[in-house]
């Protein structure tokens, strides 16, 4: 009578096996969660050096169908044999592993190692030698789906850059605003990972909001400059302040920039309506409705709204994503779908878990 995990999914096509390393962390756990509902990808192994030998159920109690999987080490040889390998590791650890995996394996890096195109930017923000850029897993950027089709290496964008790029690229591409963007983003605590640090204790974060990395110090800043610069076709100044808010998941990015002369609200809105008309995951909300992170929780969706502040002479755009879903694991699977040639929305929730 016990139905197997896959019972509700009638898989009529090809299936690929997936190995996830960093599976005991938040990003890796989210990859596993989404794979449980994917018609073409099958979780075939979980890896994490620090917890090798333990049951996954001890470390990820919500992954009940996978509770009895044993966590295995994550050396390159442990990761051989999968069709797809997802690396959910701290930056600096992916490149060495990926270099030893087959070129036929689809390797998806949820870390930062292969996002930046400019070696100097890598050296400044992360230090050391750059491992080189991979196709950037944000399919909503113009021309990006073509680069991802058939790819066997994909760099998953950072969670903040996902939200900020989707919020501001249309305006910059359409010449609606000057290339001088101010972003203040609120993030849930899962963006900071699962390592036990005192300032991330529940007692500290509940009932409190704080800013960090203020003054341009956050490593996602050069990534935003890269994506927004590409959209604008020119360098873009980015003032980015992340804040930590008392919730587990979600990013709300509030972005603004000076309006170009002669642009009104209708023209600004049109740029977004056009950019996202055919996007399955990005929703420009009806006028007057503003995004909430709750509406995208656990989903691969993005909620966007745009308006003009005539007194301040600025365009203001707000975007909501789930940092773990569209911001990391969902975005990774979306890009993998494109790379493998299955429907882009396969296995990706379109409805948030609310309230």
């Amino acid at each position: 009578m016990h139905e197997p995990v896959w019972s509700c999914i009638v898989n009529t096509g090809q299936t690929w096996t997936v190995g996830v390393t960093g599976a005991t962390g938040y990003a890796g756990g989210e990859v596993c969660r989404l794979l449980a509902g994917h018609p073409h990808l099958r979780l075939a192994g979980v890896h994490a050096n620090s917890s090798a030998g333990r049951r996954l159920g001890e470390l990820q109690p919500h992954l009940l169908p996978y509770a009895d999987l044993e966590v295995r080490p994550s050396a390159p040889e442990d990761l051989a044999g999968y069709d797809v390998v997802v690396l959910a590791l701290p930056h600096g650890e992916s490149a060495a592993i990926a270099a030893q995996l087959s070129q036929d394996t689809l390797v998806i890096d949820c870390g930062a190692d292969h996002r930046l195109e400019d070696p100097a930017a890598w050296a400044r923000w992360y230090g050391g030698e750059h491992a080189g850029a991979w196709p950037y897993g944000l399919p909503e950027l113009p021309g990006q789906r073509e680069k991802l089709a058939g790819a066997r290496r994909i760099a998953v964008p950072g969670c903040y850059p996902t939200s900020v790029t989707l919020a501001m690229a249309p305006a910059l591409a359409a010449g609606v605003v000057e290339p001088d963007v101010v972003v203040v983003a609120a993030s849930g605590t899962s963006g900071a990972g699962k390592a036990a640090k005192p300032h991330l204790l529940g007692s500290e974060v509940m009932g409190s909001v704080s800013a960090y990395g203020v003054g341009g110090g956050h490593r996602h800043t050069p990534e935003m400059a890269q994506t927004l610069g590409a959209a604008a076709g020119a360098p873009v100044k980015v003032s980015f302040t992340p804040t930590l808010v008392p919730m587990s998941r979600g990013i709300l990015a509030t972005c603004s920039a000076p309006l170009q002369a002669g642009i009104d609200a209708a023209a600004a809105r049109a740029a977004y309506a056009q950019a996202y008309a055919d996007e399955p995951f990005v929703h420009l909300l009806p006028e007057g409705q503003w995004p909430t992170t709750a509406q995208v929780l656990g989903a691969n969706t993005v909620a966007v709204q745009v308006t003009v502040d005539p007194d301040a002479g600025r365009l203001v755009v707000v975007a909501a994503v789930d940092n773990l879903t569209k911001g990391t694991a969902g975005g990774a699977i979306q890009s993998a779908n494109i790379a493998l040639g299955v429907p882009e929305t396969a296995g990706l929730p379109l409805v948030g878990v609310a309230p």
Copy 2:
């Protein structure tokens, strides 16, 4: 390029249309969320008298694929024509509507009207004349799947009774404990519904825990007495205290009862292992791991753990469910799956959304 909502689901079998009334509330919204991923059920209409004529997206912003559905009234004639009708209404409103729907329509009542078998209990706790009991939608009870197969009327259990029944029925059925159960359950605020009441404001509930309905006053008490009494084969005393905790979703039911003489921890545990060995949704956790509501959030799963307190001479059982998923909408769909003859797990998440 825009994939339709259903793209990831290859439906090779029959499909039934579903109309949901009370679709603008929390339980109705959760039914809609789950239908978005169901291979055999298709949301065909949403109803709610109070919001008729509005876009669903205004009222349920997370249901993005359904945002443009117009909410329609919920008189019986508005609900005709669906294969399945889900009633997510305040108690007392379902019976009159259901009486006018075709006997061929599968009618699923998420409210209380048809749960209690004893007209006197109905009269005492709800008042007025009882509309009669329907097959009770808790498939995990012995013999219950047979009653649900082919049914065209189903009464969905209350969220607290779901958790408490699954926590205590095995012990009572196996004679492990005396029929004298003490329950203190913590519930997220969504269990109280979407009506704006001052004590449910975020400012009031964040950072605060409170008890309500203390002393046997909660209307779910007679329902627990009914299910537990059936399990025990004798009347069961139930002391039930619900508490409201600062989270949106989830119930953690802490239940205990005096151990029968001669019962030890192994015997107690064996009763649970046997009861739930073949259940797809109920997980008896490994010894030493205790349930959290986060691990079942958004999933149709139940996490259960059991132990013996030798000093106090009691069995203590803790169960976690999501009040909206397994506790209401997921349980409704699980029973509908049985009634319609599709796999019981079809369309039901097995993985919680955590962290």
Copy 3:
């Protein structure tokens, strides 16, 4: 053996009686809370038309020492006879009441009626005829303490303007930045008041962040323009986006503006160090430590930090206040202390309630 409420306060000087209207709301309740520890002010009566005749304890359960006070109506004649009257009412209700109170009574308006100096701004943002400006209760502004000394009418600043003004006035006054300020502020839900609205339900706000009043729509914007313009000695553009975050209390205001040419981090910091050197409630944190709302919760304090983003060419300032304490009720009492000639810090907590 039962100690009276006032036992711990040895009052050796004059005492004034205080009547609070709107005492059943959040701002009024906070005034009452602070009065319980004030050596010179004594809560003598509570008023609220909507709840007249009820025990205060039903409506403000935390005000246990005052639980048996009866709520009385709030017509002007009901408010006669107090030395001090605090009006914690929706905007538009204070002016008519204040006009009928004695000129010898110290009247403190926590609402907006008397904050704006420009009748045209009032007409645009609130509508109708302006009742005239009162001395503005933000003692930290240059020259403001002199205006408050002996005053018998005080307009308490809005909670957002308190945080934003204290964050940006020093930089504008010192010519550190251009008069073009971008503010994104995170607020707890108590700022939205106690009226039961669906979007303020706990189920909606927990786990979610949202923006509102985007594009210059929030009524606190002209008040910020007024205070910052006064500091700058010239008009200041203000782009203000408030966001609602899942906590009950607190504002974190993230503010930035383009640096003036030739200004470096040291010069910017010096402006703040000088402005706040002698302020009892405003704390410029040591370099590298960023404000959290938890550290000022329930206290009349303000935590401020400032830095320079050289890439973006902007000064970034973050300020944390408790919207109900320094942002409303504490600020009101601070100004009242000055008006009455008692120590400015009398009765005002200097330590936040954390964690």
Copy 4:
């Protein structure tokens, strides 16, 4: 113009100096917070071995008036010279330190070392040799104030035992219930301390409730058995299940026991009304109003309500305390006040910080 910290407190009597060790933790921080408003006690030094040499402001950002204090080591010689020493240390560390402090020094132990009277209970629950019991700092117990008057050693009760003892002692003392108590208590996360453990991360606790120490495993259980047994004059069985809920502070203890024959609701209530008629901190709420932890947050108060469940034949009592205030630091100061002969309520907040 900068008012000193103590400005609002007119101290007309004696002052004692206080040293706090463990001052960088949650309990020690709360002691410091309360001392900031105490008319007779003055914080004179902070100690913590692990952070010796650092500014207190780095570690306790909310203690702004004390930010520049240097944390010093906590060897006995470092603690000499204070009139009062508060030990807020893990259990097992207090006894050795206390043994070397002067008998004239008032030593207050917030840990467990000196709470249990029975060496066998100590050996079973904590292990090793017992250091002996000190006067138990719960003045509300009959005869306890006499034991605390003039004492120079005080054992502060555990936070759970504070709430549970105050909830159940009157009923047991008056013979209202049988000596067989079931307790399920919800606690905020600060009760688990400030050590960074993965399960206490904000991402884990927000949106989740869990049980721990189930089946009689929590070390506060024997302490409850001791206090309740003393109240009953006979051994009392205690089934205690603590749960962790998503908030920083507060305990809500839901307690029940079988009613003795012939006891009705009025008789039960009378026992509580009589027990707490003259208590300054314990509030038996009016009938029908149930305690919330928000109403006692940051205050030294206890909110209690009691009712009878006639169907289940049980008395149900709910008590709310702030685990850090009345449950630890406030209770410590209350007992110190008695020991030193100053008013019992001196320096202790009577109003909660809500919302």
